[in-house]
């Protein structure tokens, strides 16, 4: 009988213990935010924030940093330098926002262009392709499938971005500016499901340039 009472008590205590789960966080109070730097000046650039320094190449993949995680709502200040030209930039990222700070030439000096993206199209079966328009002389940029004139995105204003989910296929694109070809064909290769890409239109010293970058956060 004592054994039975003990067993019942143990069972009751166990059930009570199961019912009392400790409280834990079910996620962050606000969403993650990111900032990256893009060098569209065609010369080497340095970005300095306190002791942190990011060196950006003049050409190729090294022109663009990865997206660095930042605290949403906090003011972020950095100094940008290309040769002797300097510019200061300040941004505040909202929760869930991806901010691109681009450096562009302006005569002998430089300007910074801030492009903000709050994506809601995360999808592991498709690829996300964006067109980022850094050319203030291009009022309506578009991205077509190369040689097919099929529009992926249209009417992208300067200092802005549009993106679209596409099937993960091999993709060559042509940037359009006011309905004319801008820059060379950009070959993104075989798109990977779940990956995110930005095709960039930038004002070059001689002519408009186009290239693509993966929107990497790590």
């Amino acid at each position: 009988m004592k054994k039975l009472i003990f067993a019942c008590l143990t069972s009751a205590l166990t059930l009570a213990a199961h019912a009392d789960n400790p409280l834990y966080e079910t996620g962050p109070a606000q969403d993650s935010s990111f900032v990256r730097f893009l060098n569209a000046s065609e010369d080497k650039a340095n970005v300095v924030n306190g002791a942190a320094k990011v060196a950006l190449a003049a050409q190729g993949d090294g022109r663009v940093s990865r997206f660095y995680p930042v605290k949403a709502g906090a003011k972020l200040a950095a100094n940008v330098q290309v040769g002797n030209a300097k510019a200061a930039v300040e941004v505040v990222a909202k929760p869930g926002e991806f901010v691109t700070i681009a450096i562009v030439s302006n005569g002998a000096g430089i300007d910074t262009v801030v492009v903000k993206d709050t994506p809601t199209d995360f999808n592991a079966s498709k690829a996300s392709v964006a067109l980022l328009n850094l050319d203030k002389s291009c009022n309506a940029a578009g991205l077509n499938v190369a040689e097919k004139n099929t529009a992926i995105v249209e009417a992208v204003k300067p200092a802005s971005l549009q993106r679209r989910l596409v099937n993960p296929i091999g993709l060559k694109t042509q940037v359009m500016c006011d309905a004319k070809d801008a820059g060379k064909v950009v070959d993104l290769g075989q798109l990977q499901p779940g990956e995110r890409y930005s095709v960039v239109l930038m004002p070059g010293k001689k002519a408009r340039q186009t290239f693509f970058v993966r929107d990497s956060t790590s």
């Binding site: 019912a19 789960n21 834990y24 962050p28 109070a29 969403d31 869930g96 995360f122």
Partner: protein
């Protein structure tokens, strides 16, 4: 006892639903074993999906169960995730079952943190892709509204819909289709009584045994 899953080695990893005896670490584990699978289960309460790629401390306990052994409860510093790649190397599963949703839904926040969830889920699914292992992802169940975690049916539905789009290559198991809202009793809105966990475990086991899921697994 059946042989539906004979020849299959299953690794289950998950959050609080896998961290207490009589939760899914008992009922789902038993269900898959009764169908002939060899099962290894690991739970770390309160962790997000990406925490499974490295050794991460659980804020509220954990548990492990190897094959037909007992549930070993872990507390304090012993309650950790084990890195996914190490688990795959050690147990060589054909199928990984991820039980994770409630710990990323930010029930107390006004907005679903979609970017953060994407990051967390992508970290783990990258591990799944790199190891070319079959995978199913079990999303949150309805629970009950209110309770100390502030869970709501609307957020559970939003979270489940979002997970279904971002967990590939894992096959998504929508737990919301496995019961009616509030059908399984819960004391805190999120965790169930034994009857609830038995029903949930059996329903997940049936989904895993379906031809649609079995076709995706290399034996």
């Amino acid at each position: 006892m059946s042989a539906l899953l004979a020849g299959l080695t299953v690794l289950i990893i998950g959050d609080s639903h896998m961290s207490t005896p009589d939760y899914l670490i008992t009922t789902l584990h038993d269900d898959l074993m009764s169908k002939g699978a060899v099962v290894y289960s690991f739970g770390a309460c309160g962790v997000a999906a990406g925490d499974w790629m490295v050794k991460s401390q659980s804020p509220c306990g954990g548990a492990a169960r190897i094959k037909d052994g007992p549930v070993e409860v872990k507390t304090g510093q012993d309650a950790m995730t084990r890195p996914f790649n190490e688990l795959i190397k050690t147990y060589k599963p054909n199928l990984v079952v991820v039980v994770n949703g409630d710990t990323m839904a930010s029930y107390a926040a006004p907005e679903l943190p979609k970017t953060w969830i994407w990051q967390q889920v992508s970290r783990l699914t990258k591990g799944v892709k790199n190891n070319t292992v079959g995978c199913v992802w079990v999303g949150p169940a309805w629970g009950t509204e209110g309770g100390k975690f502030n869970k709501t049916f609307a957020r559970a539905k939003e979270m489940s819909g979002y997970l279904s789009e971002i967990v590939a290559p894992c096959t998504y198991i929508d737990s919301l289709t496995l019961s009616k809202p509030g059908e399984w009793a819960s004391s805190d809105g999120q965790h169930f009584d034994l009857a609830g966990y038995k029903a949930w475990g059996a329903a997940i086991g049936n989904a895993i045994s379906s031809p649609a899921v079995l076709q995706t697994i290399k034996k």
